[in-house]
């Protein structure tokens, strides 16, 4: 399922130039025309943008935990720590502790409610949750945060269904942090 560098199709070769591109790219390389549009899109959605790094990782870890995606939770636990989240905060996002214990900023509290409603539920979103979010976040932020939830969900199901392997270094770091 995952293509090695020696098997990398022509359009995928640049992604292997710096070494192992990771399992998402190595899987998408099977369909090169998808890879070449997906990677810039994923990069724009999940990489540096107008939404700060900490907030993005809150969205990604929380969404991935709600979707039960081991690959994304483990991979992004490490990224979230690098983005400055505390172990306690990450534990909350992973569903291992209650939010009240550490997310005190109202802006982040409403965001967590929004993520839980969008990623954890089905059908229409409660108007009061949306209204609370919009009191703390401007329109383009609401749109981008919601897009990040959607993209994360897509990757969650992709990684889970294809049983993408978590990098050994990530597993080692999680063990060292006590977050395995």
């Amino acid at each position: 399922m995952l293509l090695a560098a020696s098997e990398a199709p022509l359009l995928a070769r640049p992604h292997y130039a710096g070494g192992d591109p990771g399992p998402i790219v190595a899987a998408l390389a099977q369909v090169p025309e998808l890879l070449v549009v997906a990677t810039p899109f994923l990069g724009a959605a999940l990489g540096p943008s107008a939404i700060d790094w900490r907030t993005k990782e809150i969205v990604i870890v929380r969404t991935s935990a709600l979707a039960g995606c081991r690959y994304c939770v483990q991979s992004h636990t490490v990224v979230a720590l690098d983005a400055g989240l505390t172990k306690a905060e990450v534990s909350v996002l992973r569903g291992e502790a209650a939010a009240e214990n550490c997310f005190s900023a109202p802006r982040e509290r409403v965001l967590l409610h929004w993520i839980d409603a969008v990623a954890g539920g089905a059908g229409p979103i409660d108007a009061t949750v949306r209204a609370a979010l919009r009191r703390h976040w401007v329109d383009h932020e609401v749109v981008e945060l919601t897009a990040v939830i959607g993209v994360t969900l897509m990757l969650n199901r992709f990684a889970t269904a294809l049983e993408l392997p978590v990098a050994t270094q990530t597993l080692d770091r999680l063990a060292a942090e006590g977050l395995a």
Binding site: A8, P9, L10, L11, Q30, V31, P32
Partner: protein, 277 residues
């Protein structure tokens, strides 16, 4: 939009004009240098005849100038004579065959190709049965030299492809005498190297070939579109993906545009260096 980019690229030589199709991967032979590990039990990976005809029409619309059909052994597909005839209504076709299946019935069926721009390219590697058949299997030589004059006398255009690691001048002279005697002129004899892909790797045969060595001929298979007919090879039962362009094959504009993009990224002068057309 795409026709407007592909047509001039073909016209000014940036993109080769031929589109290849792998009609199937199975074969009645199992040659030691086979790129596709073809054989009687190989996975068939067939292209649907209607898809082939549609690809030919799209190739014409986009501005390509020629078609190639290869396999596997293409005449294991019973509809192949009519498919080739239909393809030739769009563009001239060269069709590669091992030349061993030309029964009276098949000869009658391919007679329709005599009136059309179709050439059958038949493999003949050596001027002697024992050396020829060592790599291609028993009776291959006898069947091929029997089939060629029968095709020629029916007016079908025949080309001969010789695939060898090396050949002495004297042996090549005898091979050329042989094909002339069978009714195939020098202009229709091509000699090409063995490429170290597929089964050739296991027999330690052939020369290495990557993008710079291979003409950028768009090649369509059941598994996707590839850079050159030497791209969609099989090794260890697995399709090689290193020369895969796109999985999408239709609309043909998708792989054609991707191929053109790759060609235009090549450094100047980095054109094919192996004589493997």
């Amino acid at each position: 939009m795409t026709a407007s980019t592909i047509r001039p690229a073909v016209a000014d030589g940036r993109l080769p004009g031929r589109v290849w199709m792998y009609s199937n991967y199975h074969c009645n032979l199992a040659c030691t240098y086979c790129l596709t590990e073809s054989g009687p039990k190989a996975q068939r990976r067939e292209l649907d005849p209607e898809a082939m005809i549609d690809i030919a029409r799209q190739a014409l619309e986009l501005g390509f100038t020629d078609l190639g059909v290869t396999g596997g052994e293409i005449f294991l597909l019973s509809r192949m004579p009519e498919v080739l005839a239909e393809l030739a209504r769009s563009l001239p076709v060269v069709a590669l065959t091992n030349g061993t299946l030309f029964s009276r019935r098949l000869l009658d069926e391919v007679q329709q190709l005599a009136e059309l721009p179709v050439a059958l390219q038949i493999s003949l590697d050596r001027p002697d049965p024992d050396t020829n058949d060592a790599m291609r299997g028993p009776d291959n030589f006898a069947k091929v030299v029997a089939a060629i004059p029968r095709l020629v006398e029916r007016g079908v255009t025949v080309r001969i492809a010789t695939t060898v690691e090396s050949i002495e001048d004297a042996e090549l002279d005898r091979l050329c005498e042989l094909h002339r005697g069978l009714g195939v002129p020098d202009a229709d004899h091509v000699i090409r190297p063995i490429i170290a892909r597929g089964r050739a790797v296991d027999h330690d045969l052939g020369v290495q070939a990557d993008v710079p060595d291979l003409p950028a001929e768009l090649t369509i298979t059941a598994d996707g579109a590839f850079w050159s007919p030497f791209g969609p090879t099989v090794h260890g039962g697995r399709l090689d993906t290193d020369l895969l362009i796109t999985r999408t094959t239709r609309p043909l504009s998708v792989p054609a545009q991707a191929l053109l993009g790759l060609v235009e990224q090549r450094p100047a002068g980095a054109d094919s260096t192996l004589n493997i057309r």
